[in-house]
């Protein structure tokens, strides 16, 4: 097409960017030349995850939905950090605060909302900036500013006890502030919850150590240079040095008003999301008002974006938006709350089923009208939420026995969910993806889970639906789901899985990372993201023959310590089996004083961590400790936790301490695809938690030892599988070595045993490791022995640095925020 139309989008948030994605998806790049304006200086990010970012459960890396390159790649002109101030509808121009004037043929307004700040004294420093220490909770910058401020301050008051307020309060608790939540209503989350539910929630919130004040109306914020406290209508007050205002949101409609569009609460739009005044102007997201409703959640805006795109591209001019039914979930770890529709019965013949167990924090209700689910509240136990959401959304027939809606007796079990789920059922609530969307991708030929996830965004919000997405993709593919080829590659830059790559490396005799790149990588080019994994692999394969290139190691492995947020390092000396001596403790204490170590901490791995050591001091610290490295920094064998066992404990059946020490002595520091954490327990009481370790050994009656593998209690929790039971500590050592070597050779990079064992299957592992079904036991044992023999304590390098400036500080001058000293 010669003259594409000019499409301008004001607002580069979740709705604006999603609308553009939907438009591109319908061939919009050929129809339009697209320009976007965004007030925030970024691409588009997932606002929902700000709560997780504050609480530290989400990474800033993962929050971007459309990074700046996305705009470039799609030929979109992005003006980030530029605010549109007026639309000249008659000349069809938008005027922005950088003085630019941009003509449009079609315009989309997606300006979202901003926090509502109650008009009380002391809120603002002047008419533009909040009093220092007062924060809204809406943008990435808000979030960063809060985290920054929270580091240096102690006590926060959150104004507003709704969803956002509780999520903010939780995040601040995680940052170790004393937190107060002030709610003017008598209940928390009063918009979604009835009285009883409010009380149950309050108990759970109390348990998080958050102090709740209900029925309190804010009248003033006290401040000197920064906030010093808040005052309420009854004259009472709270002293604090931080205030977060989450007292509701207001749609950003100023632009609509000055440009002469009809604005009530939001910019009023018709069923095609067009302004009722101007056929060339659309509004979408939180700034739009449709049939009297303004939404404050993402699910409706996904639906709106589809209709808008269908219409503006002419793909389906009949497409119409009829409003959304909304459901909410609270994203606070440890408190499950999900609500949808009505919070209490409204009509006399509404059915109301209620279950309440306040002491356990459980409360559930459903409200049914004319055999349809019109409302539900789930607190403490949200196991039924998927089915209820679907029933609520689709008006599905309900079981005669209503109680089945609340408990698992009759509704489809989650495992059969994939087949039985309605086509239109929304699977990913963050990104608004239905079962039909997923199925359509599979039908269109996508055969990998990651492919479907990338194409639809399903599972890329809060991630809680990933399991269901996988089930549906597998079901739709009739079980013929293909692994993403790249997902099997050992490193991103070489298209080979691990066995292929190892064979290739061996046959070509490649002993260094740069040799692997030169011979096997695309165009022979090195790839920074692949270096660490290749170093690990080559070291495992070649042992002493490995040609060590220091630049291919991650910084932790260059300086043998774990890098921390301020560029300092932590030092964890080896304390085998958790057993130490007064002499060692004395030396640790002296080192801690001599080098002003900010934090000395007992770790979860039964040893002692010196945190906040400056890089240039590492060699001296090691020398003065006179202890070997505990390897608490690499992808390697870490610890063996033990219990006191038969020497002291009245229940001890085997000498777990001695065995643990022997295991750690033998396998210390071995590099492996993921960390290896082991434990030995002296009896099945399991005080060293051996059932949830990569490899755990448990002494049982009769002088025997059980060996468990693939257990975990970190990011994932999994009970280990019983590999075998043996008769002596010697056999434990042999089987342990053989299992670890098998894992080292066969696991993917960063694949912990808790993923590796179930993938390969415990029966297979047992066949190979215990019964030697493949005839490789002797080879595995020999390879392990070679690795053990090649071991050298890396802390000896302190005496003879391997590279110039190995321990030179990387941040010489600026005083950065340091890990706080207690």
């Amino acid at each position: 097409m010669t003259n594409p139309q000019r499409l301008v989008v004001v607002g580069n948030g979740m709705a604006g960017a999603r609308a553009v994605e939907e438009i591109l998806h319908r061939g919009g790049d050929r129809m339009f030349s697209i320009t976007m304006f965004g007030d925030e200086p970024y691409g588009n990010y997932n606002r929902i995850l700000l709560s997780g970012l504050l609480a530290g459960t989400d990474d800033a890396d993962e929050i971007f939905l459309n990074p700046v390159e996305w705009y470039r790649d799609n030929g979109i002109t992005l003006h980030a950090g530029v605010r549109v101030v007026r639309i000249d509808r008659f000349a069809k121009l938008v005027l922005a605060d950088d003085g630019s004037i941009t003509p449009y043929d079609k315009l989309i307004i997606a300006t979202g909302s901003r926090p509502f700040y109650p008009p009380v004294e002391g809120m603002w420093r002047d008419d533009k900036t909040l009093t220092p220490g007062v924060f809204g909770f809406r943008t990435l910058d808000d979030c960063a500013a809060m985290v920054h401020h929270a580091r240096e301050h102690r006590r926060a008051v959150v104004i507003g006890g709704g969803l956002l307020g509780l999520e903010a309060a939780h995040g601040l608790r995680v940052l170790e502030l004393e937190v107060h939540v002030v709610q003017s209503a008598p209940l928390l989350m009063n918009q979604q919850l009835d009285t009883q539910a409010g009380h149950v929630l309050r108990r759970s919130v109390d348990k998080l150590g958050i102090t709740v004040h209900t029925g309190q109306r804010l009248t003033a914020i006290r401040h000197e240079d920064i906030v010093t406290g808040v005052t309420f209508a009854d004259g009472s007050s709270i002293d604090c040095d931080m205030v977060v205002v989450t007292a509701g949101i207001r749609p950003n409609v100023g632009l609509g008003i000055v440009s002469g569009l009809t604005v009530e609460r939001g910019i009023v739009v018709d069923d095609q999301l067009r302004s009722v005044d101007d056929d060339d102007i659309y509004a979408v997201g939180e700034c739009a008002q449709h049939r009297g409703e303004v939404y404050g959640l993402v699910a409706p805006l996904w639906e709106q974006a589809v209709v808008l795109a269908e219409h503006v591209t002419g793909h389906n001019p009949q497409s119409a938006y009829h409003g959304s039914r909304t459901a909410t979930k609270l994203k606070v770890a440890g408190i499950d709350v999900a609500t949808m529709g009505l919070k209490q019965p409204e009509r006399e013949d509404d059915e109301f089923v209620q279950f309440s167990e306040p002491r356990h924090g459980v409360y559930k209700t459903v409200i049914i009208r004319d055999d349809r689910l019109v409302g539900a509240t789930l607190l403490g136990d949200v196991s039924k939420v998927a089915f209820l959401m679907q029933a609520f959304d689709r008006g599905l027939p309900l079981p005669e026995e209503r109680i089945q809606l609340l408990f698992d007796i009759g509704t489809p079990a989650p495992s059969v969910g994939a087949a039985e789920l309605d086509d239109d059922a929304q699977v990913c609530n963050c990104n608004g993806v239905s079962k039909a969307d997923l199925v359509a991708r599979v039908r269109a030929g996508e055969r990998t889970l990651s492919g479907v996830m990338n194409a639809t965004r399903a599972g890329k919000g809060c991630g809680s639906c990933k399991g269901l997405v996988a089930d549906i993709v597998e079901w739709a593919a009739g079980g013929k789901i293909e692994d993403d080829p790249a997902a099997n590659w050992y490193v991103p830059c070489i298209p080979m899985d691990k066995p292929e790559l190892m064979a290739e490396i061996r046959s070509r005799g490649l002993r260094s990372v740069s040799a692997v790149f030169a011979e096997l990588a695309r165009d022979g080019r090195p790839d920074a993201a692949s270096k660490m994994a290749l170093t690990s692999l080559l070291r495992m394969m070649w042992g002493a023959e490995f040609v060590d290139e220091r630049d291919a190691r991650f910084v932790n492995d260059r300086v043998h310590a774990n890098i921390q947020k301020d560029g300092t390092f932590s030092v964890v000396p080896q304390i085998k089996g958790g057993v130490t001596t007064p002499g060692e403790l004395r030396r640790i204490a002296e080192v801690a004083e001599r080098y002003e170590v900010p934090l000395v901490k007992l770790t979860g791995g039964q040893r002692i961590d010196l945190l906040g050591v400056r890089k240039e001091n590492l060699p001296k610290v090691w020398a003065d400790l006179g202890m070997p490295s505990g390897h608490a920094y690499g992808k390697s064998f870490r610890t063996v936790k033990t219990c006191v066992g038969s020497d002291f404990c009245r229940y001890g059946l085997g000498d777990s301490t001695a065995l643990g020490i022997a295991i750690e002595e033998r396998f210390k520091g071995l590099e492996s695809p993921g960390k290896l954490k082991l434990a030995v327990a002296g009896c099945p009481r399991n005080c060293s938690e051996a059932l949830v370790k990569d490899l755990g050994v448990v002494a049982v009656e009769g002088g025997r030892w059980e060996i468990y593998v693939g257990g975990a209690a970190g990011a994932h929790v999994r009970k280990g599988d019983l590999l075998t039971t043996v008769d002596s500590p010697d056999e434990v050592m042999t089987i342990t070595g053989r299992f670890l070597q098998y894992y080292r050779e066969n696991a993917r990079w960063l694949e912990r045993t808790y993923a590796f064992v179930p993938r390969v299957g415990i029966d297979h592992v047992r066949a190979v490791v215990v019964s030697d079904s493949e005839g490789i036991a002797a080879r595995l044992d020999a390879a392990m022995q070679a690795s053990v023999a090649a071991y050298r304590d890396p802390w000896l390098e302190g005496e003879n640095p391997v590279t110039p400036g190995q321990f030179r500080t990387a941040l010489p001058l600026i005083v950065l925020p340091r890990v706080p000293v207690r």
């Binding site: 200086p41 970024y42 691409g43 990010y45 990474d59 800033a60 890396d61 971007f64 990074p67 700046v68 390159e69 740069s514 080019r525 090195p526 790839d527 920074a528 993201a529 270096k531 660490m532 290139e549 220091r550 630049d551 291919a552 991650f554 910084v555 932790n556 260059r558 890098i563 947020k565 301020d566 560029g567 590279t803 110039p804 400036g805 030179r808 500080t809 990387a810 941040l811 010489p812 001058l813 600026i814 950065l816 925020p817």
Partner: protein
């Protein structure tokens, strides 16, 4: 106007690694690529102040050691949605000195 500053000897920086230096009052991470070229960028990561000189590099990018944000060593652009970092012209002179040019204020 820029001024050229000798910062270190080539041998002071192991191949494929970086070292941080203060040049004309600015903190700069100087890298010696495996192909022999020299690259210089600001020393701190814009994301959360990570030490870029401690990052893994290849011939084009540096990966910050703290949260893996990635930056092009020549242009400073981020491949992971971060603001771009400052880059400084840098080269090896005939005597084996690493020279970095820093704009004069």
């Amino acid at each position: 106007m820029s001024a050229e500053h000798p910062v270190a000897r080539a041998d002071d920086i192991p191949v494929g690694e970086g070292r941080a230096h203060v040049v004309a009052g600015q903190q700069i991470a100087v890298f010696r690529l495996r192909d022999g070229r020299i690259r210089a960028v600001q020393a701190t990561c814009p994301h959360a102040g990570g030490p870029l000189a401690d990052g893994l590099i290849d011939d084009t990018v540096v990966i910050c050691p703290l949260h893996n944000h990635t930056f092009d060593l020549a242009t400073g652009c981020s491949a992971t949605g971060q603001p771009a970092i400052r880059t400084y012209p840098a080269h090896l002179d005939d005597n084996g000195n690493i020279i970095v040019s820093v704009p004069q204020p």
